[in-house]
Every structure is written in C-alpha cells, then in structure tokens.
Subunit: 337 residues, 2 copies
C-alpha cells in the first residue's frame, strides 16, 4: 500500500495478447497512469520500444527488457500477465514482494489460491505482509463473472441454499493461446490426454467456487471438476485452425461442484467452444429470495480482462498488505470516455 | 469502527414494515447477531416485547422503547429504518455519532447525500469522523440495483460513454407505505400535487445517479428528474386500495438524467405500478465493450432491503470512520442457510 501522489507508475510484466491489451489500455489512461517499465522474456521483444510491440504508430520511450534490478525502483504496481499457474509465477510474485511493489496479476490460480495451493498462498501472504505489499489475482473468469458479480448479487439474499453459475462463450472470438487451452482442433484422444496433465482446460473454476463460498463464510471441503470435449457436429471454420472437421474437438464443457457441510453448495458450468450459439453469463441463487442475473452475449473475455486489471490499480494500491482476493476489495470501477 | 469480539450487538431502530423485516432477519442470524435494543416512537409499540411486535411466537426479552440514554452503551451498530428523508433523520444520525456507534440506515437520501444535501453530508461526515463512527446508507434502490451492481459491472469496461439503468416493478407486491408513496389509488390531480411537494415518488434516484457517476470519478453538475403518473387502463384490483378504476393512478414512471462535462452521462428509468407486466432490473453500459446485465423479475425490494442491511453489518463495522457510501465498501455477501 502506497499513497498516490501523482500518476500511478506501472510496470507491464508479460506481453502476450492479454499483457499487450493491458499495456495499451494503460497507455490510453495516460492522464492517470504512467508505464515506467515493460518486461517480457521473448528475445524477439527484448530491446524493442513498447509502442512498436503494441503495434502503435508512436514510440513510448519504454524499451522491453528482461526482469532485473532497478526496474522496480520508481514503480507503484506491477501489471502481471504471464501464465495461469501459480507454480510458474510464484517466484516472480515473491520477487515483486522483495522489491516492495504492489501486484495485480491475471494468473488464474492466484484468484483464490487458498483452496488448491494453500501452502503457496501462505508463503505469498507472509512475504507480502512483511514488505507491505498488496497482491491480487484478478480477471474476468476467475475474478469477475463467477466471483465478484456472484458475491455482490448474494448481498440481496437473506440466506442462500445453493449457487449456480454458467458461462457459455464462443471460443472462436478469443485469442490463440485461449483456443489452444480449450482444445480447438484436437482429436478426442489428444484432448483426453491433455486433460490428464491437469494443466488443460479453463484454469480457475475451483478458484471461483472456493472464493465465492469463502465470501459467504464457508471453507469448502471438496471440489469435483469434470472436463469434457465438445465435438464438431458439422465442419466449423476457424481463423487459426482452419476447418475443424466433424468429430474433432471445437472446445470444452467444464463442470465444477463445491461441497461443504456435507452437501453441495455451488455448481459452476462452463462451455467454451467455437461457434457457441447463445453465449451468456448467468448467476443464480436459490435461497430467500431466489434471484438470478444474466449477461446476454456474455462478458467479452479479453477486452474485459484488460479493463479489470487496469481498473483494479487504485483498489490494489489503496488496499491493506497481504495476499488479497477480489472479495476483499471495493468494486473496481471504470472511467468515462 | 470496532473490532468484533463475539456477536455483533445491534439496535433495531424503527419498526415499520422494513424495520420489522430487518429485526426478524437479525434474529434468524442469532449465531452472529444479538439484538440488544429496539426503538420506535409509536406509543402502541413502546413497552411491548420485540417478539410480539414482530408477530413471533417467542418472546425476545427486548422491550421496544423510545430512544434514550443508556440504549447505546453495549451496542456495536444501529440498524436504522425510519424515513426516506435526510432532513428528518439527520438529528437521529448525529445522536448515534455522539454515542460513538456505527450505523447502517435505509434512509434513501443517505445513500449519497453529497449531491443534493452536501451541507448535511459534510456535517455528518465530520461528526462520524470525530467519534470514529462509520455511517452508511444502503438498500436495494438506492444502494444496490442502480448503484453497487452498476458500479461493479462497470469494472469490465475499458471506458464508458453512457450508462442506462431500468427498474420495472409491481407495486402491488410491496408494503403499504411504498404503495402510498408511488401514488396507488390517487387521482391525477392529487398525484401532481404530491409531486410538487418534492417528498413524493421514488426517493433516491438522483442519489443513485450521482453515486454511480462518483464511483467513476465524476461529480455530476446537474440531475434532471421527471415523475409521471401511470394510469389504470382497466380496473386494477389491489389489496390495500380496493379496485382502482380506469383513469386513476396505479403507480409512477420516473426518469432521471445525470449531466456533467457538458453531456449526458447516465439515465435511469423506473416504473413502479400495480400489476406491472414484465418486472426486471437492467443495467447497460455503452462503451468498450457494450455490456448489459438483467435481473429477470427484478430484485424483490422489501426482502432484499432487509438482507442488504443485515449483510452490511460486518462491512460497516470493519470500515473506516466517516460518512460512507456503498462504493466505499467491499461487497456485502450473504450466508448459506
């Protein structure tokens, strides 16, 4: 936690498709935000001007570099967008803590690491508190649709028996790495093999379930998760994978169930496939009262993730030290154009 | 702000229909909440056991009393539900501040008093800060549908051009005082006369508009508001007003527009009338991306208001001192049954 004196000074860490969107939006918010550093490990990007990397006509004067000393000295916060897995990013996050700099990260497993990665969560929480750093995992999913939005809606309930959430999206409209992790163009065998690695499919469903239940005071005992392939029933034309023939994988169906107190508390259902017919996000509370909320056409993942990361900057900077989750922060709001 | 050591000790202040719902819910949450006092000015209630006033079979051991000394000594927070108007409740709120006790109130004008009642807002904020008190106006509308939910949804937007909100509800399903303030059974002349008092119709629409814009960093310059009668086009049967004949008022249509930076930033539209055909709540952001959210059948006002007040207890107790609004607090979540 630091007090804002002028613009928020940020470091763009990770310049894949999402990292680039975040950096672009940060540049657009130039009256509030100043990018003071850009980091990526790709040798093709290192040394380039950030403007060029982002495909802009103008130079920014910021050269992409590998992480290193001196980088963090004048920054308030790192906008971190590298991978989905805590095991991969933990060392980076601990390094940010060492430098006493706040972090908001797209790492899906960081959205609520207390369930599946409790030891790493404790380690990060201690390191963050020791150095007065606020550390947040955020994004659309996990982070928003099945998390903040669900938690916020729960506020109108006198009591809740069960929570149901659904997110149906058209994977054809998403970035290439996303399409790869939901299996576009794979054979069923290859899909199943990937599922067995535990690093495939939508990452973050258990995190969303555990986070939402935790916001209502319950540590879940168990989360069941199932990932199934969605198959083309007729040829599907795609940008990156050509025509996906009938019987091949066009995406996935993923179901998660949170169990505690000897019963089912929450079920989340996700379908991510090319050509999804009726995309939407929906949250339903069974309780007093029954209530449900729907975002027709769904929350557009890649645009919205960049928005959430950038909109979270002041929330993270003002927050207490420690490993935070979105339930700990007041809503990250947007700005008028 | 106080630290919770055991149960939250609350005072039920105001025992009209909403105050009673709040007290009932607080009793149902007996493992977390203890009611230590109940206040109402109605001579018929004073001296009665709270359980009897709430229509319960059991006694609570709490007798309804008029406000007075000693009442606040052991309480953490006042659950305040008396009137919609800040001019009426300000003295009560200042008295709570004097006693150093936190407050969450249903008073509509308290949801964001900084626009229409800036002087009173400053006075309350100073008094609250001086005595380390957290003071919040909350509820469904204003407070939730066109406020917290809108602010939360804005988080997925990179930028916002304009906000539109609608709330259509069936006034026949609401409590009698609500039905009176939206004009059920009135003649058009009587409705128009009531509108001219400035104390009629849905209270809180300017507050919702100003609050949502403030969350996005803009103090609005001007809010235009229009209240029109909704007339019966055929006889409408109601519980409290008998049959409302054709041409008589069955409710209202209310529109508010927030203007700043020389343009329209937000429009909120409300219809509250007996027999509303397709009730819903909707928030729409025009921006990057365009996004809209809908609660089909709408948020049930009276049940949800009690829920929000009770769910806000820990948020208010943990919050910093001062006059707060819902944008300042992390989401008030529910509990599992």
């Amino acid at each position: 936690m630091r007090i804002k004196l002028s613009k928020w000074k940020v470091i763009s860490f990770g310049l894949g498709p999402i990292g680039k969107s975040i950096a672009k939006l940060a540049l657009e918010r130039g009256s509030q935000i100043e990018i003071v550093g850009a980091v990526d490990s790709d040798p093709e990007l290192v040394g380039e001007d950030l403007g060029r990397v982002l495909g802009l006509d103008t130079r920014t004067g910021i050269r992409v570099q590998r992480a290193g000393k001196g980088l963090y000295d004048e920054a308030d916060i790192v906008l971190h967008a590298t991978t989905s897995f805590l095991s991969t990013v933990k060392a980076q996050l601990l390094e940010f803590c060492d430098h006493g700099i706040d972090v908001v990260s797209t790492c899906e497993e960081l959205a609520y690491p207390w369930f599946n990665h409790a030891e790493a969560a404790r380690e990060l929480d201690s390191a963050a508190k020791e150095r007065n750093v606020s550390l947040l995992g955020a994004g659309v999913n996990p982070g928003f649709v099945l998390d903040v939005l669900a938690i916020t809606l729960s506020g109108v309930c006198q009591s809740v028996s069960e929570i149901h959430g659904s997110r149906i999206l058209d994977a054809a409209k998403r970035r290439l790495p996303f399409q790869m992790k939901v299996g576009l163009g794979m054979s069923v065998d290859s899909f199943e093999e990937n599922v067995r690695t535990g690093k495939f499919g939508h990452i973050g469903l258990p995190e969303s379930l555990a986070l939402t239940c935790a916001s209502m005071g319950v540590d879940v005992d168990k989360i069941d998760q199932k990932i199934s392939p969605k198959l083309a029933t007729s040829p599907v034309k795609t940008e990156h994978f050509g025509v996906i023939e009938e019987g091949m994988v066009i995406g996935l169906v993923q179901d998660g169930t949170a169990i505690a107190r000897g019963r089912r508390l929450a079920t989340y259902h996700i379908e991510m496939y090319a050509g999804a017919v009726d995309p939407y996000d929906e949250i339903e509370f069974v309780g007093v009262p029954n209530i449900s909320l729907r975002i027709q056409d769904g929350t557009p993942g890649d645009i919205a993730t960049a928005a959430i990361i950038v909109n979270s900057i002041p929330r993270v900077i003002e927050a207490r030290a420690g490993l935070l989750t979105v339930k700990d922060l007041r809503p990250a709001s947007s700005v008028f154009a």
